[in-house]
C-alpha cells in the first residue's frame, strides 16, 4: 500500500463514521402523487432505450463517413479516363485488332 492509499483509507474510514442518519421515508404525499401520475403514464416504447445513443450514433457515423472520404480522396479525384481507354472490353470481345 503506497502513501496515497494510506492517506485515502484514513480519510475514508473517518468519513464512514459520519454515516447518513437522514430519514429514508418518503415525504408526505410523495407516493400518492407518483402513483397518480404512474397510472396515466403511457408505456415507454421498447426502442426508447436506444434514443440516448441516437445522437452519438449519428456523430460516429458522420465521422466514419468523413474518414472514408478523406481516405479515398485521391481515388475519387484521379482521372480514370486512361483506365477506361486501356480496358477496351468491346474490342477484346470482338477481337478487332
Amino acid at each position: 500500500m503506497n502513501r496515497f492509499d494510506q492517506q485515502w483509507q484514513k480519510l475514508i474510514v473517518l468519513a464512514r463514521q459520519a454515516g447518513d442518519h437522514r430519514d429514508a421515508a418518503p415525504p408526505f404525499g410523495f407516493a400518492v402523487r407518483i402513483a397518480a401520475q404512474a397510472v396515466v403514464l403511457p408505456a415507454a416504447s421498447p426502442w426508447a432505450s436506444f434514443e440516448r445513443f441516437a445522437m452519438r450514433g449519428l456523430v460516429v457515423a458522420a465521422a466514419f463517413g468523413a474518414g472514408a472520404i478523406i481516405f479515398n480522396y485521391s481515388t475519387l479525384v484521379s482521372d480514370q479516363s486512361d483506365e477506361y481507354a486501356a480496358a477496351d472490353t468491346v474490342g477484346d470481345l470482338l477481337d478487332l485488332s
Partner: protein, 195 residues
C-alpha cells in the same frame, strides 16, 4: 402498512393493470433504496425529491420492459444509477478544486490526513464526509459512483456490477482510474498547501 412485507410479484402485476394503490405501495417499498442512491450521487443544485420522482416515473414507464432476469430492486437500482449519472453529466463542468474551497474543519482534516500528525477527533467524521464528497465531485460521474460504492459503502465488485449493470472488469478499470485521479488531486493539494 409499512411493516407488512410486500408481495412484489403480485404488486407488480397489479401495477401493470394500472392499480393506483399498488403503485403507491411500490413507491413506498422502494423509496429507501432509491433515496439512498440519489443522496449518494446527487448533482449540485438538484433537489433529491425531484430526482427521486424522475426515477420512479421512469420505472413506471419502463415496467413492461422488466423481464425478471434480475431481481426487481436491482433493476430499479440501475434506473436510479443511470438517471443520477445522466444528471451529473448534464451539469456544468466541475470547478477547479482549491484549498480555499474547504471549510476550516475540512482543511484541518485534510491536513491531518496528508501530514499524519495527530489522531482523528470525533468532530472530524462529518468534515471528512463532506471532504470526501467534494473530492469525489472532481471525478467523472461513472468513476465517482464506483469509488462511492466501493470505498464508502464497502460493496464488493460483484455487488457493484449487479447494481450498475457494468461488467466486473469495467468496474475495476473505473476504480483504478478514479484512484489515480484522486492521487493526482492529493498531490496538487499538497503542493498548493506548501506554496
Amino acid at each position: 402498512m409499512a411493516d407488512e412485507p410486500l408481495d412484489l410479484p403480485a404488486c407488480l402485476e397489479r401495477v401493470r393493470r394500472r392499480d393506483q394503490v399498488a403503485a403507491r405501495q411500490l413507491v413506498e417499498h422502494l423509496y429507501p433504496l432509491v433515496i439512498r442512491i440519489v443522496r449518494s450521487h446527487l448533482p449540485r443544485r438538484v433537489a433529491e425529491e425531484d430526482l427521486a420522482q424522475d426515477i420512479f416515473l421512469k420505472m413506471f414507464t419502463r415496467l413492461d420492459q422488466y423481464q425478471g432476469a434480475v431481481p426487481f430492486p436491482h433493476w430499479v437500482s440501475r434506473i436510479a444509477v443511470t438517471t443520477c449519472i445522466d444528471q451529473l453529466r448534464a451539469q456544468k463542468r466541475r470547478p477547479e478544486f482549491r484549498w480555499a474551497d474547504l471549510s476550516e474543519n475540512e482543511a484541518e482534516v485534510l491536513d491531518n490526513v496528508l501530514t499524519d500528525e495527530r489522531d482523528a477527533i470525533p468532530g472530524d467524521a462529518l468534515a471528512a464526509h463532506e471532504l470526501v464528497h467534494k473530492l469525489l465531485g472532481q471525478l467523472k460521474p461513472d468513476d465517482r459512483l464506483v469509488i462511492q460504492l466501493l470505498d464508502l459503502e464497502q460493496k464488493t465488485i460483484a455487488e457493484i456490477s449487479a447494481q450498475t449493470g457494468w461488467n466486473q472488469t469495467l468496474v475495476k478499470v473505473r476504480a483504478f482510474r478514479a484512484r489515480r485521479k484522486l492521487q493526482k488531486l492529493f498531490q496538487e493539494l499538497q503542493s498548493k498547501e506548501k506554496s
